[in-house]
Amino acid sequence: MKKIPVSMTVNDDEVDIYVPAHWTLLDVLREELELTGAKEGCGEGVCGSCTVLMDGHPVRSCLTLAAEARGARVLTVEGLGGPGMELDPLQQAFIEKGAVQCGFCTPGMLMTAKALLDSKPEATEQEVREAISGNICRCTGYAKIVEAILDASHKSET
């Protein structure tokens, strides 16, 4: 199996590895880098659970070849905030507003929301709903997720 070199930045860490050419970015994150926050919910780019940011833009890591991420800045939920780091206002809002139930879709949902608020800090409810329409949540009916994202957006304004 032919391996190819992949160099990229993942959550501020320089990564230089060799991986099989047919591995996706999700395969690399989960299996090679042991960053299991991004989830494989469908593997065909529908559910959004594997969403990460590549150079600031949300992408389906299950449909992005690792090779395509060479040279990119990749941000996963682990780099958003957590142990040893401040929580992102989005993470804080998800906790406080009850936007997390089973939590499987949460990492992908947070990354999509992060990209939205980075480009549009004062998103409207409609914009939030449209932005997360590629992230399927089966538990919440989205009500508290939308509330949390709006809450975080108001916080980032101040």
């Binding site: 199996m1 032919k2 190819i4 099989p20 050419a21 047919h22 591995w23 996706t24 395969d27 494989e40 593997g43 065909e44 780019g45 529908v46 959004g48 969403t51 590549m54 833009h57 949300p58 992408v59 389906r60 299950c62 449909l63 992005t64 070849l65 090779a67 395509e68 999509t112 990209a115 939205l116 449209e130 932005a131 997360i132 329409s133 590629g134 992230n135």
Partner: protein
């Protein structure tokens, strides 16, 4: 789901890409975003030895007018740039409306490209399934076999073109530029599609779609796009319609109506379009008659293979055409008004 093994090629420029295509031909697949190709590879619908990434082909990324005022879209232009381009407002709104409806917008639009969407493989629910799902019975025509599971005794593949971009580009009378090491050729969009489900594109294996050329913008021209889905995002079209119309001296001077989700190509409905010619944009009966005719023609191409019932999709073809034509006419007239004010 694991991809099968392949060799990954990353040409630095257009020439290198064309060299690879000449060398590997049918054994190579072009990665132009990936949301179609990689899923089909995971499902083992595509067995390819080489994947050629267009990542570095920066000269194919961008929207520029040429010397004749025609608008050239580089095939590697991300969908998000299409939506945001100031050059693609006004007359071309049918295209931007279509691109907005592709997949899950905020996510797929950064990776997806206009060339990739144009070359979206035709779909059929009996074909777009996992390798396991398809096992245990003979292959279908699109899968290299001889049977059609969507339509009993069909002598050809009945998969449908559901590319939103292709449908809109059909109505806009786009031209597709293909390049190979041997040179360049351009095809009117209706010739870019073969109409065959098994091999829907007139691209030969050594060719690359480099540019999509749109006619120069004109005043009093309007375009539109309508798509029927059960959800507001993610879904492929159950049926779609796009219209491009030109109004002159209070009469419809040109019209192109296209319907997606019906045949293996976006259907260009010439006869139905002609019914509009010479009519007033306010002529509701003419629009209704056109829509009914378009619906009948499109219905003849459809089989029950995209979800929802066949009858419903057939009925909706006419409804979407009617709405698309009405909207395109309204846009053409608004363009008119603005044109007058500008003068």
């Amino acid at each position: 789901m694991r991809l099968p093994a392949f060799e990954y090629l990353e040409p630095r420029d257009r020439q290198e890409a064309l060299d690879y295509l000449a060398r590997y031909s049918e054994n190579a697949s072009i990665l132009a975003g990936g949301s179609d190709l990689l899923v089909r590879m995971k499902q083992r619908l595509v067995r390819t030895s080489y994947v050629i990434s267009l990542k570095h082909l920066k000269d194919l990324d961008g929207i520029r007018p040429d010397e004749d005022g025609r608008l050239c879209l580089g095939s590697n232009t991300p969908l998000v740039s299409i939506i945001r381009s100031p050059l693609l407002q006004g007359a071309y709104r049918g295209l931007t409306d279509a691109i907005r409806r592709i997949g899950a917008p905020p996510i797929q639009h950064y990776r997806g490209t206009i060339g990739g969407n144009l070359c979206l493989e035709t779909r059929c629910l009996y074909y777009n399934q996992s390798a396991f799902w398809r096992s245990g019975r003979p292959r279908c025509q699109k899968d290299g076999g001889e049977i059609c599971y969507a339509e009993e005794n069909s002598d050809r593949c009945r998969s449908a073109n559901v590319s939103d971009g292709a449908c809109a580009l059909m109505a806009l009378d786009a031209e597709i530029v293909l390049e190979s090491r041997e040179g360049e050729r351009s095809l009117p969009i209706e010739e870019f599609f073969t109409g065959k489900g098994e091999s829907p594109f007139a691209r030969s294996p050594d060719e690359l779609v480099t540019t999509i050329r749109l006619p120069a913008p004109e005043t009093a021209f309007g375009s539109s796009f309508r798509k029927l889905t059960y959800r507001s995002a993610i879904d492929f079209a159950l049926v779609s319609a796009s219209a491009g119309v030109k109004v002159e001296a209070g009469r419809i001077a040109r019209a192109r109506i296209a319907v997606g989700g019906a045949g293996a190509a976006p259907l260009l409905l010439r006869e139905a379009s002609e019914k509009l010619l010479g009519k007033s944009p306010e002529d509701g009966d003419a629009v209704a008659e056109t829509a009914a005719q378009a619906g009948r023609h499109a219905a003849a191409f459809m089989v029950d293979n995209l979800g929802a019932t066949l009858e419903y999709r057939q009925k909706m073809a006419a409804v979407l055409v009617r709405k698309a034509v009405q909207e395109a006419l309204a846009r053409a007239e608004n363009g008119n008004a603005r044109g007058r004010r500008e003068r």
